[in-house]
Protein backbone atom coordinates (compact mmCIF):
# COMPACT_ATOMS: atom_id res chain seq x y z
CA UNK A 1 0.00 0.00 0.00
CA UNK A 2 1.35 3.39 -0.87
CA UNK A 3 0.97 5.90 1.83
CA UNK A 4 2.50 9.25 1.38
CA UNK A 5 3.68 10.85 4.55
CA UNK A 6 1.25 13.53 5.60
CA UNK A 7 2.40 16.96 6.36
CA UNK A 8 1.03 17.65 9.80
CA UNK A 9 2.28 21.16 9.88
CA UNK A 10 -0.17 23.70 11.18
CA UNK A 11 0.76 26.08 8.44
CA UNK A 12 0.66 23.87 5.43
CA UNK A 13 -2.70 22.94 3.96
CA UNK A 14 -2.76 19.35 2.71
CA UNK A 15 -2.98 18.98 -1.08
CA UNK A 16 -6.47 18.53 -2.50
CA UNK A 17 -5.93 14.83 -3.18
CA UNK A 18 -5.09 14.37 0.46
CA UNK A 19 -8.14 16.35 1.52
CA UNK A 20 -10.23 14.09 -0.66
CA UNK A 21 -8.86 11.05 1.16
CA UNK A 22 -9.71 12.68 4.46
CA UNK A 23 -13.28 13.43 3.46
CA UNK A 24 -13.58 9.90 2.14
CA UNK A 25 -12.40 8.45 5.45
CA UNK A 26 -14.67 10.66 7.51
CA UNK A 27 -17.76 9.84 5.44
CA UNK A 28 -16.99 6.14 5.21
CA UNK A 29 -16.67 5.92 8.94
CA UNK A 30 -20.12 7.29 9.61
CA UNK A 31 -23.49 5.65 9.06
CA UNK A 32 -25.21 9.01 9.39
CA UNK A 33 -24.79 11.90 7.00
CA UNK A 34 -22.03 14.26 8.12
CA UNK A 35 -22.54 17.97 7.67
CA UNK A 36 -20.08 20.07 5.75
CA UNK A 37 -19.35 22.03 8.91
CA UNK A 38 -18.62 18.84 10.83
CA UNK A 39 -16.31 17.56 8.09
CA UNK A 40 -14.45 20.85 8.04
CA UNK A 41 -14.10 20.88 11.82
CA UNK A 42 -12.35 17.53 11.74
CA UNK A 43 -9.94 18.38 8.97
CA UNK A 44 -6.76 20.39 9.32
CA UNK A 45 -7.12 24.11 9.30
CA UNK A 46 -7.34 25.66 5.85
CA UNK A 47 -8.90 22.66 4.11
CA UNK A 48 -11.78 23.11 1.70
CA UNK A 49 -13.95 20.02 2.03
CA UNK A 50 -16.52 21.42 -0.42
CA UNK A 51 -14.09 21.15 -3.30
CA UNK A 52 -12.84 17.76 -2.14
CA UNK A 53 -16.46 16.59 -1.95
CA UNK A 54 -17.09 17.48 -5.58
CA UNK A 55 -14.13 15.41 -6.70
CA UNK A 56 -15.00 12.57 -4.38
CA UNK A 57 -18.60 12.48 -5.56
CA UNK A 58 -17.46 12.20 -9.13
CA UNK A 59 -15.01 9.45 -8.23
CA UNK A 60 -17.81 7.30 -6.82
CA UNK A 61 -20.24 7.83 -9.66
CA UNK A 62 -21.45 4.52 -11.00
CA UNK A 63 -19.67 2.58 -8.27
CA UNK A 64 -21.23 0.12 -5.85
CA UNK A 65 -21.23 2.86 -3.28
CA UNK A 66 -22.24 6.44 -4.08
CA UNK A 67 -21.72 9.74 -2.36
CA UNK A 68 -25.09 11.28 -1.61
CA UNK A 69 -26.00 14.77 -0.51
CA UNK A 70 -28.66 15.00 2.18
CA UNK A 71 -29.61 18.53 3.08
CA UNK A 72 -26.34 20.13 4.14
CA UNK A 73 -24.75 16.79 4.86
CA UNK A 74 -23.08 14.00 2.94
CA UNK A 75 -23.12 10.24 3.22
CA UNK A 76 -21.98 7.18 1.33
CA UNK A 77 -24.84 4.88 0.39
CA UNK A 78 -24.94 1.68 -1.60
CA UNK A 79 -26.15 2.04 -5.18
CA UNK A 80 -29.90 1.46 -5.35
CA UNK A 81 -29.62 -1.10 -8.15
CA UNK A 82 -27.65 -3.41 -5.87
CA UNK A 83 -30.30 -3.45 -3.15
CA UNK A 84 -31.19 -7.03 -4.00
CA UNK A 85 -27.78 -8.19 -2.73
CA UNK A 86 -28.41 -6.66 0.62
CA UNK A 87 -31.26 -8.83 1.84
CA UNK A 88 -29.20 -9.57 4.93
CA UNK A 89 -29.07 -5.93 5.84
CA UNK A 90 -32.74 -5.37 5.12
CA UNK A 91 -34.36 -3.63 7.99
CA UNK A 92 -37.89 -4.64 8.76
CA UNK A 93 -39.94 -1.52 8.97
CA UNK A 94 -43.36 -1.18 10.45
CA UNK A 95 -45.88 -0.77 7.68
CA UNK A 96 -47.18 2.74 7.65
CA UNK A 97 -50.91 3.33 7.55
CA UNK A 98 -52.42 5.00 4.53
CA UNK A 99 -53.22 8.00 6.71
CA UNK A 100 -49.57 8.23 7.79
CA UNK A 101 -48.24 7.96 4.23
CA UNK A 102 -50.63 10.62 2.96
CA UNK A 103 -49.93 12.90 5.87
CA UNK A 104 -46.20 12.51 5.25
CA UNK A 105 -46.61 13.39 1.58
CA UNK A 106 -48.73 16.42 2.44
CA UNK A 107 -46.15 17.67 4.93
CA UNK A 108 -43.36 17.13 2.40
CA UNK A 109 -45.11 18.88 -0.49
CA UNK A 110 -46.89 21.60 1.43
CA UNK A 111 -44.39 22.36 4.17
CA UNK A 112 -44.59 24.25 6.39
CA UNK A 113 -48.13 23.02 6.89
CA UNK A 114 -50.56 23.22 9.78
CA UNK A 115 -52.69 20.40 11.06
CA UNK A 116 -55.80 22.24 9.84
CA UNK A 117 -54.34 22.38 6.33
CA UNK A 118 -53.54 18.67 6.36
CA UNK A 119 -57.08 17.97 7.46
CA UNK A 120 -58.51 20.19 4.76
CA UNK A 121 -56.53 18.41 2.08
CA UNK A 122 -57.40 14.93 3.31
CA UNK A 123 -60.94 15.83 4.28
CA UNK A 124 -60.63 14.04 7.61
CA UNK A 125 -59.25 14.75 11.03
CA UNK A 126 -55.59 13.85 11.53
CA UNK A 127 -55.35 11.40 14.36
CA UNK A 128 -52.79 12.10 17.02
CA UNK A 129 -51.14 8.72 16.45
CA UNK A 130 -50.37 9.55 12.83
CA UNK A 131 -48.38 12.66 13.63
CA UNK A 132 -46.72 10.93 16.57
CA UNK A 133 -45.65 8.03 14.40
CA UNK A 134 -44.10 10.29 11.79
CA UNK A 135 -42.32 12.30 14.46
CA UNK A 136 -41.06 9.12 16.09
CA UNK A 137 -39.62 8.02 12.77
CA UNK A 138 -37.92 11.40 12.73
CA UNK A 139 -39.42 12.14 9.35
CA UNK A 140 -41.38 15.23 10.35
CA UNK A 141 -40.77 17.82 13.00
CA UNK A 142 -42.29 21.05 14.20
CA UNK A 143 -41.57 24.08 12.09
CA UNK A 144 -42.16 27.67 12.99
CA UNK A 145 -45.56 28.73 14.20
CA UNK A 146 -47.76 30.29 11.54
CA UNK A 147 -48.25 33.98 12.15
CA UNK A 148 -52.03 33.78 11.85
CA UNK A 149 -54.69 33.95 14.56
CA UNK A 150 -54.11 31.16 17.05
CA UNK A 151 -50.47 30.92 15.94
CA UNK A 152 -50.84 27.26 14.91
CA UNK A 153 -47.81 25.00 14.86
CA UNK A 154 -46.55 23.84 11.48
CA UNK A 155 -44.87 20.66 10.38
CA UNK A 156 -41.88 20.25 8.09
CA UNK A 157 -39.89 17.22 6.96
CA UNK A 158 -36.49 16.42 8.47
CA UNK A 159 -33.07 15.66 7.02
CA UNK A 160 -33.61 12.12 8.16
CA UNK A 161 -36.65 12.03 5.86
CA UNK A 162 -34.48 13.23 2.99
CA UNK A 163 -31.89 10.59 3.85
CA UNK A 164 -34.47 7.83 3.97
CA UNK A 165 -35.98 8.71 0.62
CA UNK A 166 -32.69 9.54 -1.05
CA UNK A 167 -33.46 13.22 -1.59
CA UNK A 168 -30.91 15.97 -1.64
CA UNK A 169 -33.49 18.50 -0.55
CA UNK A 170 -37.24 18.88 -0.34
CA UNK A 171 -37.04 20.68 -3.69
CA UNK A 172 -36.19 17.35 -5.27
CA UNK A 173 -39.45 15.71 -4.32
CA UNK A 174 -40.82 13.82 -7.31
CA UNK A 175 -43.30 15.84 -9.36
CA UNK A 176 -43.00 18.91 -7.17
CA UNK A 177 -42.65 21.32 -10.08
CA UNK A 178 -45.62 19.92 -11.95
CA UNK A 179 -47.80 20.02 -8.86
CA UNK A 180 -46.85 23.60 -8.22
CA UNK A 181 -47.46 24.57 -11.85
CA UNK A 182 -50.89 22.94 -11.70
CA UNK A 183 -51.69 25.07 -8.65
CA UNK A 184 -52.24 21.96 -6.58
CA UNK A 185 -49.94 23.13 -3.83
CA UNK A 186 -51.83 26.40 -3.43
CA UNK A 187 -53.71 27.00 -0.27
CA UNK A 188 -56.96 27.81 -2.03
CA UNK A 189 -59.78 28.68 0.36
CA UNK A 190 -63.35 27.53 -0.10
CA UNK A 191 -65.11 30.44 -1.76
CA UNK A 192 -67.08 32.47 0.73
CA UNK A 193 -66.90 29.95 3.54
CA UNK A 194 -64.95 30.42 6.71
CA UNK A 195 -63.87 26.84 7.16
CA UNK A 196 -61.14 27.72 9.59
CA UNK A 197 -59.66 30.88 10.95
CA UNK A 198 -56.65 30.79 8.67
CA UNK A 199 -58.62 30.72 5.46
CA UNK A 200 -61.08 33.10 7.01
CA UNK A 201 -58.29 35.54 7.62
CA UNK A 202 -57.21 35.36 4.00
CA UNK A 203 -60.71 35.70 2.63
CA UNK A 204 -61.47 38.51 5.05
CA UNK A 205 -58.41 40.33 3.88
CA UNK A 206 -59.22 40.11 0.18
CA UNK A 207 -62.75 41.17 0.85
CA UNK A 208 -61.47 44.24 2.62
CA UNK A 209 -59.32 45.10 -0.34
CA UNK A 210 -62.17 44.69 -2.75
CA UNK A 211 -64.57 46.90 -0.85
Amino acid sequence: MTQEPIEKSLFEVPPLAEQERMVEAILFASAEPVSLAEIASRMPHGCDPAEALVILRRRYEGRGVNLMKVGDAYAFRTAADLGHLMHKELRETRKLSRAAIETLAIVAYHQPVTRAEIEEIRGVAVSRGTVDQLMELDWIRLGRRRMTPGRPVTFVVTDSFLDHFGLESARDLPGLKELRAAGLLDNRPLPGAMTDDEDGAVTGQSELFED
Binding site: F165, G166, R188
Partner: protein, 259 residues
Protein backbone atom coordinates in the same frame (compact mmCIF):
# COMPACT_ATOMS: atom_id res chain seq x y z
CA UNK B 1 -86.70 -26.02 1.08
CA UNK B 2 -85.11 -22.59 1.21
CA UNK B 3 -87.31 -19.77 2.23
CA UNK B 4 -87.11 -17.02 -0.36
CA UNK B 5 -87.78 -14.41 2.27
CA UNK B 6 -84.84 -15.63 4.32
CA UNK B 7 -82.70 -15.52 1.20
CA UNK B 8 -83.69 -11.99 0.59
CA UNK B 9 -82.85 -11.03 4.13
CA UNK B 10 -79.48 -12.70 3.83
CA UNK B 11 -78.78 -10.92 0.55
CA UNK B 12 -79.78 -7.69 2.11
CA UNK B 13 -77.47 -8.32 5.02
CA UNK B 14 -74.64 -9.21 2.68
CA UNK B 15 -75.07 -6.01 0.75
CA UNK B 16 -75.12 -4.10 3.99
CA UNK B 17 -71.96 -5.88 5.05
CA UNK B 18 -70.21 -4.96 1.83
CA UNK B 19 -71.28 -1.37 2.15
CA UNK B 20 -70.18 -1.17 5.75
CA UNK B 21 -66.77 -2.50 4.83
CA UNK B 22 -66.62 0.02 2.03
CA UNK B 23 -67.53 2.91 4.27
CA UNK B 24 -64.95 1.78 6.77
CA UNK B 25 -62.42 1.64 3.96
CA UNK B 26 -62.92 5.29 3.11
CA UNK B 27 -61.01 7.92 4.92
CA UNK B 28 -63.81 10.41 5.13
CA UNK B 29 -66.32 11.87 2.69
CA UNK B 30 -63.69 13.46 0.45
CA UNK B 31 -62.06 10.07 -0.05
CA UNK B 32 -65.45 8.55 -0.87
CA UNK B 33 -66.14 11.35 -3.34
CA UNK B 34 -62.78 10.77 -4.97
CA UNK B 35 -63.60 7.09 -5.39
CA UNK B 36 -67.01 7.86 -6.84
CA UNK B 37 -65.52 10.41 -9.21
CA UNK B 38 -63.31 7.70 -10.68
CA UNK B 39 -66.44 6.06 -12.11
CA UNK B 40 -66.97 9.10 -14.33
CA UNK B 41 -63.73 8.17 -16.07
CA UNK B 42 -62.87 11.74 -16.92
CA UNK B 43 -60.16 14.15 -15.92
CA UNK B 44 -60.94 15.45 -12.45
CA UNK B 45 -60.93 18.95 -13.91
CA UNK B 46 -63.78 18.05 -16.21
CA UNK B 47 -65.79 16.17 -13.68
CA UNK B 48 -69.49 16.79 -13.36
CA UNK B 49 -69.95 17.86 -9.79
CA UNK B 50 -73.70 17.58 -10.25
CA UNK B 51 -73.40 13.91 -11.21
CA UNK B 52 -70.96 13.36 -8.41
CA UNK B 53 -73.34 14.92 -5.91
CA UNK B 54 -76.04 12.65 -7.27
CA UNK B 55 -73.85 9.59 -6.82
CA UNK B 56 -72.85 10.56 -3.31
CA UNK B 57 -76.43 11.21 -2.27
CA UNK B 58 -77.42 7.90 -3.79
CA UNK B 59 -74.73 6.17 -1.76
CA UNK B 60 -75.90 7.84 1.43
CA UNK B 61 -79.50 7.00 0.58
CA UNK B 62 -78.60 3.37 0.12
CA UNK B 63 -76.68 3.31 3.39
CA UNK B 64 -79.69 4.77 5.12
CA UNK B 65 -82.04 2.19 3.55
CA UNK B 66 -79.74 -0.52 4.86
CA UNK B 67 -79.73 1.19 8.23
CA UNK B 68 -76.00 1.73 8.16
CA UNK B 69 -74.92 4.42 10.48
CA UNK B 70 -72.77 6.95 8.71
CA UNK B 71 -70.40 9.18 10.57
CA UNK B 72 -71.55 12.75 10.99
CA UNK B 73 -69.08 14.19 8.50
CA UNK B 74 -70.54 12.01 5.74
CA UNK B 75 -73.96 13.45 6.50
CA UNK B 76 -72.64 17.00 6.61
CA UNK B 77 -71.12 16.43 3.20
CA UNK B 78 -74.41 14.99 1.95
CA UNK B 79 -76.30 18.06 3.13
CA UNK B 80 -73.80 20.36 1.52
CA UNK B 81 -73.88 18.43 -1.77
CA UNK B 82 -77.68 18.46 -1.77
CA UNK B 83 -77.54 22.21 -1.36
CA UNK B 84 -74.90 22.54 -4.07
CA UNK B 85 -76.88 20.33 -6.44
CA UNK B 86 -80.02 22.43 -6.02
CA UNK B 87 -78.02 25.61 -6.55
CA UNK B 88 -76.45 24.15 -9.68
CA UNK B 89 -79.89 23.39 -11.09
CA UNK B 90 -81.06 26.96 -10.70
CA UNK B 91 -79.91 29.77 -12.95
CA UNK B 92 -77.34 31.93 -11.14
CA UNK B 93 -78.81 34.84 -9.24
CA UNK B 94 -76.64 37.92 -9.91
CA UNK B 95 -77.97 39.63 -6.76
CA UNK B 96 -76.71 36.85 -4.52
CA UNK B 97 -73.62 38.25 -2.74
CA UNK B 98 -72.23 34.82 -1.86
CA UNK B 99 -70.03 32.66 -4.03
CA UNK B 100 -71.71 31.20 -7.08
CA UNK B 101 -72.60 27.54 -7.26
CA UNK B 102 -70.07 27.17 -10.07
CA UNK B 103 -67.33 28.53 -7.78
CA UNK B 104 -68.27 26.06 -5.08
CA UNK B 105 -68.34 23.20 -7.56
CA UNK B 106 -64.97 24.25 -8.93
CA UNK B 107 -63.56 24.29 -5.43
CA UNK B 108 -64.82 20.80 -4.75
CA UNK B 109 -63.22 19.64 -8.00
CA UNK B 110 -60.01 21.33 -6.89
CA UNK B 111 -60.10 19.57 -3.54
CA UNK B 112 -60.58 16.23 -5.23
CA UNK B 113 -57.80 16.90 -7.67
CA UNK B 114 -55.50 18.01 -4.88
CA UNK B 115 -56.27 14.93 -2.82
CA UNK B 116 -55.68 12.71 -5.85
CA UNK B 117 -52.39 14.51 -6.51
CA UNK B 118 -51.26 13.99 -2.94
CA UNK B 119 -52.19 10.30 -3.13
CA UNK B 120 -50.14 10.00 -6.25
CA UNK B 121 -47.23 11.91 -4.73
CA UNK B 122 -47.34 9.69 -1.65
CA UNK B 123 -47.21 6.59 -3.84
CA UNK B 124 -44.26 7.96 -5.78
CA UNK B 125 -42.50 8.86 -2.57
CA UNK B 126 -42.96 5.39 -1.12
CA UNK B 127 -41.80 3.84 -4.38
CA UNK B 128 -38.43 5.57 -4.13
CA UNK B 129 -35.29 3.66 -3.29
CA UNK B 130 -35.40 3.85 0.45
CA UNK B 131 -32.69 3.67 3.04
CA UNK B 132 -32.64 0.27 4.63
CA UNK B 133 -34.75 -1.17 1.80
CA UNK B 134 -32.87 -0.65 -1.46
CA UNK B 135 -30.11 1.66 -0.34
CA UNK B 136 -27.85 0.94 2.60
CA UNK B 137 -25.66 2.88 4.94
CA UNK B 138 -22.25 1.81 6.14
CA UNK B 139 -22.85 -1.31 8.16
CA UNK B 140 -19.68 -1.07 10.14
CA UNK B 141 -19.33 2.55 11.05
CA UNK B 142 -16.10 3.40 12.75
CA UNK B 143 -17.10 5.39 15.70
CA UNK B 144 -15.57 8.73 16.07
CA UNK B 145 -13.98 8.63 19.45
CA UNK B 146 -14.94 11.80 21.07
CA UNK B 147 -11.99 12.59 23.19
CA UNK B 148 -13.33 14.87 25.80
CA UNK B 149 -10.81 17.20 27.16
CA UNK B 150 -12.54 18.00 30.37
CA UNK B 151 -11.08 20.70 32.46
CA UNK B 152 -12.31 20.95 35.95
CA UNK B 153 -12.81 24.45 36.97
CA UNK B 154 -11.64 24.81 40.49
CA UNK B 155 -9.67 27.44 42.25
CA UNK B 156 -7.70 27.39 45.43
CA UNK B 157 -10.46 29.45 46.95
CA UNK B 158 -13.00 26.72 46.18
CA UNK B 159 -10.71 24.25 47.83
CA UNK B 160 -10.26 26.33 50.95
CA UNK B 161 -13.93 27.08 51.23
CA UNK B 162 -14.71 23.40 50.90
CA UNK B 163 -12.29 22.62 53.66
CA UNK B 164 -13.72 25.30 55.89
CA UNK B 165 -17.15 23.87 55.22
CA UNK B 166 -16.16 20.40 56.37
CA UNK B 167 -14.43 21.72 59.46
CA UNK B 168 -17.23 23.98 60.57
CA UNK B 169 -20.05 21.64 59.76
CA UNK B 170 -20.06 20.07 63.24
CA UNK B 171 -20.68 23.47 64.73
CA UNK B 172 -24.12 23.38 63.28
CA UNK B 173 -25.97 20.84 65.31
CA UNK B 174 -29.55 19.85 64.87
CA UNK B 175 -32.01 21.94 66.81
CA UNK B 176 -33.04 20.48 70.13
CA UNK B 177 -34.91 22.13 72.93
CA UNK B 178 -32.55 22.73 75.78
CA UNK B 179 -34.70 21.83 78.78
CA UNK B 180 -32.18 23.15 81.28
CA UNK B 181 -32.91 26.70 80.34
CA UNK B 182 -36.64 26.53 79.98
CA UNK B 183 -39.12 27.48 82.69
CA UNK B 184 -42.57 26.24 81.79
CA UNK B 185 -45.84 28.06 82.47
CA UNK B 186 -47.05 25.12 84.55
CA UNK B 187 -44.02 25.46 86.79
CA UNK B 188 -44.60 29.20 87.11
CA UNK B 189 -48.28 28.74 87.92
CA UNK B 190 -47.43 26.22 90.60
CA UNK B 191 -44.91 28.59 92.12
CA UNK B 192 -47.07 31.68 91.98
CA UNK B 193 -50.09 30.01 93.63
CA UNK B 194 -48.01 29.68 96.75
CA UNK B 195 -46.67 33.23 96.54
CA UNK B 196 -49.53 35.52 95.55
CA UNK B 197 -51.07 35.40 98.98
CA UNK B 198 -48.24 37.64 100.13
CA UNK B 199 -48.96 40.23 97.41
CA UNK B 200 -51.47 42.30 99.29
CA UNK B 201 -50.07 45.47 97.70
CA UNK B 202 -48.94 46.11 94.13
CA UNK B 203 -45.78 44.12 93.53
CA UNK B 204 -43.57 43.96 90.42
CA UNK B 205 -43.86 40.70 88.51
CA UNK B 206 -40.07 40.72 88.17
CA UNK B 207 -39.67 40.27 91.87
CA UNK B 208 -41.44 36.92 91.65
CA UNK B 209 -38.79 35.42 89.37
CA UNK B 210 -37.07 32.46 90.97
CA UNK B 211 -33.50 32.64 92.19
CA UNK B 212 -30.92 31.52 89.68
CA UNK B 213 -33.18 32.45 86.74
CA UNK B 214 -32.30 36.11 86.65
CA UNK B 215 -28.63 35.92 85.70
CA UNK B 216 -28.30 34.39 82.23
CA UNK B 217 -30.38 36.25 79.63
CA UNK B 218 -31.70 33.04 78.18
CA UNK B 219 -32.99 31.76 81.53
CA UNK B 220 -34.35 35.18 82.48
CA UNK B 221 -36.33 35.41 79.26
CA UNK B 222 -37.79 31.95 79.67
CA UNK B 223 -38.75 32.52 83.31
CA UNK B 224 -40.25 35.94 82.60
CA UNK B 225 -42.37 34.60 79.78
CA UNK B 226 -43.56 31.67 81.88
CA UNK B 227 -44.47 33.87 84.82
CA UNK B 228 -46.19 36.43 82.64
CA UNK B 229 -48.35 33.72 81.10
CA UNK B 230 -49.05 32.34 84.55
CA UNK B 231 -50.25 35.68 85.99
CA UNK B 232 -52.57 36.10 83.02
CA UNK B 233 -54.08 32.76 83.95
CA UNK B 234 -54.42 33.80 87.59
CA UNK B 235 -56.00 37.12 86.62
CA UNK B 236 -58.47 35.29 84.43
CA UNK B 237 -59.34 33.06 87.37
CA UNK B 238 -60.01 36.23 89.39
CA UNK B 239 -57.30 35.53 91.94
CA UNK B 240 -55.18 38.60 91.20
CA UNK B 241 -55.39 42.00 89.53
CA UNK B 242 -52.78 43.20 87.05
CA UNK B 243 -51.73 46.68 86.07
CA UNK B 244 -49.19 48.36 83.88
CA UNK B 245 -48.85 52.15 83.96
CA UNK B 246 -47.32 52.62 80.51
CA UNK B 247 -46.32 50.46 77.58
CA UNK B 248 -43.16 48.56 78.50
CA UNK B 249 -43.45 49.67 82.12
CA UNK B 250 -43.14 47.08 84.88
CA UNK B 251 -46.12 44.78 85.27
CA UNK B 252 -47.51 44.80 88.79
CA UNK B 253 -49.88 42.42 90.49
CA UNK B 254 -51.94 42.35 93.67
CA UNK B 255 -53.84 39.57 95.39
CA UNK B 256 -57.56 40.03 95.12
CA UNK B 257 -58.53 38.37 98.34
CA UNK B 258 -62.26 37.90 98.67
CA UNK B 259 -63.53 41.35 98.07
Amino acid sequence: MPDPAADWVRDDRLTAEVLRVDVAGFEGPLDLLLSLSRSQKVDLRRISVRDLAEQYLGFVEQARALRIELAADYLVMAAWLAYLKSRLLLPPDPRDPGPSAADLAAHLAFQLERLAAMRDAAARLMARDRLGQQVFARGLPEDVTRRRDIRYEMTLLDLMRAYARTRTRDEFRPYAMDRDHVFTMEQALERLRGLIGSAATWTDLASFLPKGWDKSPMRRRSATAAHFAAVLELAKAGQITLRQSDPFAAIQLRHRGDG
